[in-house]
């Protein structure tokens, strides 16, 4: 991982790696919002590189730009709405700025998995049907999609809840369904927004262990936005953001130490 604005020395500095090994490579990313005639500078020139296979956490106070950055990295936020927006963001060799909206949509569908803070499961679909959605989006036949979704639910420990509706699942179970949904189409990058904030400490740990084991075990890259210091220990690296910039990065063992202080 490389955070060029970081002041802390990092181990295994990804800046020394060949460019092809980076899952995410953002340079001088700027993003502004206009609210009621006032400009808000959400990202003030962020440089961020995440090597393939790394679990990186983005932390920082509310409004510091974490969610905006993860949205840019996931390709769900246009960066060129304002003349001051700019920079470059390359994900697995694809430059978002050179892709059309439909290309970005297709790229997201195939390459990115999402885990949301509020799970965002479709309430009318069963757990298995929810998990199958990314496959259906990619045109996989329904029967194949449901079969694979059911298998994956088994891997996250919910094999017996495949036909349950989200309203009948606990928060932890819903997040495990969401994780299965994020993994079902074998994406290379998984972005998670506060995946444990709606869960208690123990369930949060279970969910993170699951993410780390199931997702990372297959060589995927994870970028997680979180406030939850209790899960810092799962990170390979942690980038701290403030006022639209990355102000500090620490590596995994420092993160574990940081977790201990919380």
């Amino acid at each position: 991982m490389s955070l060029t604005t970081a002041s802390t020395p990092v181990l295994n500095d990804p800046r020394n790696r060949p460019a092809g090994e980076f899952a995410v490579s953002c340079k001088n990313v700027k993003k502004t919002y206009s609210t009621g005639g006032t400009k808000v500078y959400a990202l003030r020139g962020v440089d961020l590189s995440v090597p393939v296979g790394e679990l990186m956490m983005l932390v920082g106070p509310s409004g510091c730009g974490k969610t905006t950055l993860i949205s840019v990295v996931a390709g769900i936020l246009d960066r060129d709405e304002d003349p001051e927006d700019g920079g470059e963001c390359i994900v697995f060799g694809q430059d978002f700025s050179k892709m059309s909206a439909s290309q970005k949509t297709r790229f997201r569908g195939q390459t990115v998995g999402f885990v949301f803070q509020q799970f965002n499961l479709l309430p009318a679909l069963t757990a298995a049907q929810n998990v199958a959605v990314p496959l259906l989006i990619n045109g996989v036949p329904r029967s194949v999609a449901f079969k694979k979704a059911t298998e994956l639910l088994g891997r996250v420990g919910l094999g017996d809840r495949a036909t349950s509706l989200p309203k009948n699942l606990s928060g932890g179970q819903q997040q495990r369904v969401a994780i299965a949904r994020a993994l079902v189409h074998d994406p290379k990058l998984i972005v998670c927004d506060e995946p444990t904030s709606a869960l208690d400490h123990q369930t949060g740990h279970v969910v993170m262990s699951l993410l780390k084991d199931v997702a990372m075990g297959e060589g995927r890259t994870l970028v997680i936005v979180t406030h939850d210091a209790r899960i810092f220990g799962f990170a390979d690296r942690i980038a701290t953001m403030d006022d639209g910039r990355i102000v500090k990065t620490i590596v995994g063992r420092e993160a574990i130490a940081a977790e201990g202080t919380h």
């Binding site: 949205s71 297709r106 999402f114 949301f116 959605v133 329904r142």
Partner: protein
Amino acid sequence: MNFVALRMLMGDKAKYLGIIFGITFASLLMTQQLAIFVGLMCRTFGFVTDTPQADVWVMDPKVQFIDDLKPLQDTMLYRVRGVEGVDWALPLYKGLLKARLDNGSFQTCNVIGVDDATLIGGPPEMVPGQGSIADLRRADSVIVDETGANGKLARPAPVDPVTGKPSGPSIPLQVGDYLELNDHRAVVVGICRVSRTFQSQPVIYTTYNRAIVFAPRERRLMTFVLVKAKPGIDTADLCGRIQKATGLAAYKARDFSVLTYTYFMKYTGIPINFGIAVALGFIVGTVIAGQTFYNFTLDNLKQFGALKAMGTSNWRLLGMIVLQAVVVGLIGYGLGVGLASLFGLLSGRSELAFRLVWQIPAATAVAVTVICVIASLLSIWKVMRLEPAIVFKG
């Protein structure tokens, strides 16, 4: 993804039923009101369709519709018969006469006098076992329509001496009963079924010569001349020849029907009143369905955002919304038209005018399509503009 769209739609049962209710209501109201409107309009020229033997109707040129009675001189009958291409021409009397009822009150009736020899122009259908058209050849005979016999011409039940009120329901007029038409005695020899008249007056058939006896004395009494064209003669040409030769108006049966309902369309407030009801059905249906469908979309905005983030294209989302609109549209339309048909079926023998011609469900289908398009456009607009990053907002 169609599967997902349908599950999303039907998952929220309250809104799903709300949208269907809106479309069903609109569909029902539009179909029912249009069917009643068409039924009423058909009543205006029911007498023409009940007299299918005539190809051409000849009348005073100033006649504007079928009940606009402007009698002709009897001699006009012979002039019409003299026109080339006429196979036969027969007189027809149509007038409003007062019938005196047993209780002393009067009831205005539509009296039809048909040709004495051929009885052409007579009732289209007799009630089984209630006489025949040929019975009109008996002295003082009349045939009364079933609705009139059971309703406005029915005899009141005897008065109960204790309560001073009728002791039971009215007694229908029957074969063998007597009527008093303009101070003339008439004997009921049959009960017939006819198309309802616009004013819902009882219809009484008799022969032409007897009808002009019943009618008040006037110099001119023949209302129409019914004409049959010779085989191979074009009726439109024949109408032109009759007009030229006699100076009278001559219409093909269909054109006379058109003339009649056009008059009602033009000079009565009926189309406006029904038009308002239909428009209200359309507007209320659009508002209910549109608002509920839009609310449904708003409630599912995060889900749509999540689908968009996960790689669902705008076109796919548009297709999902269109599918949802089509499904609720079809169900609502089917229920609405079905209920309207049921309503028509149940009111078949009542006073209510209800005629469901194929053009009405077709027009309702177009209106329901417009409702669904309007309802879904709001949702499509919202979802198309939706930033998928909404999923990361708490």
